[in-house]
Each structure stands twice: as C-alpha cells, then as structure tokens.
Amino acid sequence: MKGRLYLILIFLFLIIIVINIPIFAHKVNIFTYVEGNKVYTESYFNDGKKCVSSKMEVFDNQGNKWLEGLTDQEGNFSFEIPQEEGDLKIVLTASMGHRAECIIRADELRNTTGLVQENLKEPTSKESTESILVYKMGEENKVVSPEISSQNLKEVQLLIENILDEKLTPVMREIKKSQEDKISPTEIIGGIGYIFGIFGIIAYFLNRKK
C-alpha cells in the first residue's frame, strides 16, 4: 500500500509541475493574413519555435497545387494572390510528421485586393468625377477640385493603407496569440479523470467476467 501511495504522490507532483509551466499543444500552426496583393503566412510550433525551411503548398479550390515553397529562417512564407477566384488552401508539412492546413476564403482575398485595385485603375472615369462634382455642389463652402481624383486618391489610399497596417499590427499579434491555443489545466485534469474513468469501466467489465 505504501508504494502505491508513493506512486500517487509522484504523479501529483508531475501534475503540479505541468500546471506551473507554460504548456503548448504539440502541433504546428499557420497564421495567415492578406496585405496588398500578397498573402503572408507565419508557421510555428505551439511552443513558439518557428518552422524553419518547412514545405508550404498552396492549392486552389479544385485541389490543384498552385505553388510550393519553403519557409524562411523566421518561419515566414509569402506569395502573390493568384488571379483566379476561389478559396486558397495552404498546407504546411513540417518535420517529423507534423502538418497543418488553413483556408483563406475568396472574399477575404477580394476585399483587400480587388477593391483597391479597381479604385486605383479607374479614378479618372466619368463616374468618379461626377460623384465628386455632386459632392461639391452639396457643400458649397468646401473647395474640392475635380483634379483630386487621380493623383491624390492614390496617395490617400496609400496613406490609409500604411496607417491601417501600422494600427493593425498589434491587433494581428493579439489574434495570433489567441490562436496559439494553450492547454488549460482544466483540460489536463479533465483528461486524467477521463483516463481513470475509462480504466474504471474496463475494470468493471473484467471483474464481471470472473
């Protein structure tokens, strides 16, 4: 009996150690974001180690491989968004049998690229000048010249993009952090409880047989 008590004590000790150190699931994660006309990905093991020179593959929504590459020393990988519409699937194959995949929805890609590009392409078209003129008529005090369209619009857009990127960086970091699903003590203790329960059930059936 004494020995068994010791075993249980060691076991409790192990649990306490585990609860007190930061724990990460042993798997790989991909974090992706779209910026301009490029998709950026960062890959890392859950304990924070980067996946260095791991294979990244990008598939379109028909499952055809669109491109393939290796992550760099920081675990980063980026590629330009393809012209075709549709979702993109990114698959990461890290060393020793680790794999993760993530899907970037088509509308996510379009929102950041499509709209911006369209605006940039036709700022001088009739529609945009007209709308500016209308605007001018509405508020007579404000001086808005029609020439604002082509040159300034581009600059304003760039400026907004830069500011947004700057402001969004911490938000992105926070999102990334929350995606690193740390394991909670609840899950650990719950899991141990389940295991005891399962063996309790096995013991019950073994006992009934005899």
Binding site: K2, L14, F45, G97, R99, G190, Y194, I195
Partner: protein, 201 residues
C-alpha cells in the same frame, strides 16, 4: 512524435491500426484485475508527459516515458498508451483519430521490446548494473520510437535516412533525460516497492 492527420497513406494507417488492435486485445487479456490502478496511473502519466517540453535541441520535442511504462506494465502498455493518446488527440489535437493506431504502435511497441529486454535485469541483485540497464531502457525506448516514426514516414516518400537522422538528433536530449528519469524511477521502486517491478508480462 505524434504523426499528424493527413500525412500517412491509407495502407500505413490500416496496418498501424490493425497491429495496434491486435496488441491492445492481447494486452487487455493479459492485464490482471489487480493491475488496473497501476495501468490507469501510468496511462495518465503518459498523457501528461507529452505536455512537458524539452527546451533543448533544434526542434519541438517532449517527454514520452514509454520505457518506464513498458517496464512497469508489460503488454498492458498497449491499452494504457492507446487510451492516453486518444485523449491527447481529442483534447489537445496531438496526432488525430485516424493516426491513433500508428501513433500507439510507434510508442507502445518499443515499450514492449524494452520490457522483454530489461525486465529481468532491473530486478537483479547488483544495484549499479540494474540502474545502468534502466538508463539504457529509457534511452532505447525513445530511440526505437524515433526509428519507428521514420519507418512510418518512409512510405510517404520522405527519405528514410534523412528523416531518421532528423528525428534522432532532435530527440537526443529526450533520450538522455528519459534514461535519467528511468534510473530514478527504477532506483526508487527497487528500494520502496520492488514487487511492482515483478511482472510476468
């Protein structure tokens, strides 16, 4: 050393699952009723051990402890490791439901090998000899697991030697650490409760 979902081909998965199923069946048959609490405790030890990362070396590695589990459980190591891995897959997404069979086999089979190799030796009279064997047991179990994982990945088209080298280098710290841990466990049990080591499979 958990192999993720979607890497292995179907034949490897099926082979792993059927081997594991057979071994688990045999393990359950061999498992004495009195052994139950020990199996349950060691199963949860395995469950928790995978959460302890070893922050040395180039890759992300964790403790496995299959050597000591094999020594103390014999064939019951198979059901113990299967249950622990199943809960790791459900709760932490280590591995996954389809790779459960392969993962169980890669970790439990070395445990059985270690059991047959070292079970007699660690009960011997000579303390130093027994503890040396315990170290080798802890070391070897991880080494064998690494080789088995490399073998499983072999069929996915990766180069065996390359993968094996990578896994073994990454796990070298774990091997040494587990060797030491096994020495402590065996040394402790020899003193306090030697009959726990007495096990005929």
């Amino acid at each position: 050393m958990h192999i993720s979902e979607g890497i292995l081909s179907a034949p490897v998965l099926v082979a792993g699952a059927s081997l594991t199923a057979t071994a688990v069946g045999y393990g359950l048959k061999k498992m004495a009723y009195k052994q139950m609490p020990k199996v349950a405790i060691l199963s949860s030890v395995f469950f928790v051990a995978s959460l302890i990362h070893v922050p040395i070396g180039p890759s992300s590695v964790h403790l496995i402890l299959n050597g000591i589990i094999g020594l103390l459980l014999g064939w019951a190591a198979f059901p113990a490791i299967l249950v622990a891995l199943a809960f790791q897959a459900i709760l932490f997404q280590f591995g996954g439901p389809t790779t459960l069979g392969v993962n169980t086999f890669t970790m439990a089979f070395p445990a059985i090998i270690c059991f047959y190799l070292f079970n007699r030796g660690i009960k011997g009279k000579n303390n130093f000899f027994a503890l040396t064997l315990a170290f080798i047991c802890g070391f070897l179990s991880v080494l064998l697991s690494g080789i088995m994982v490399a073998t499983a990945l072999l069929f996915t088209g990766e180069q065996f030697m390359q993968v094996a080298k990578l896994i073994l280098i990454a796990h070298l710290p774990v091997m040494i650490l587990e060797g030491i841990l096994t020495v402590f466990c065996v040394g402790f049990l020899r003193k306090v409760r030697p009959e726990i080591l007495d096990l005929d499979a």
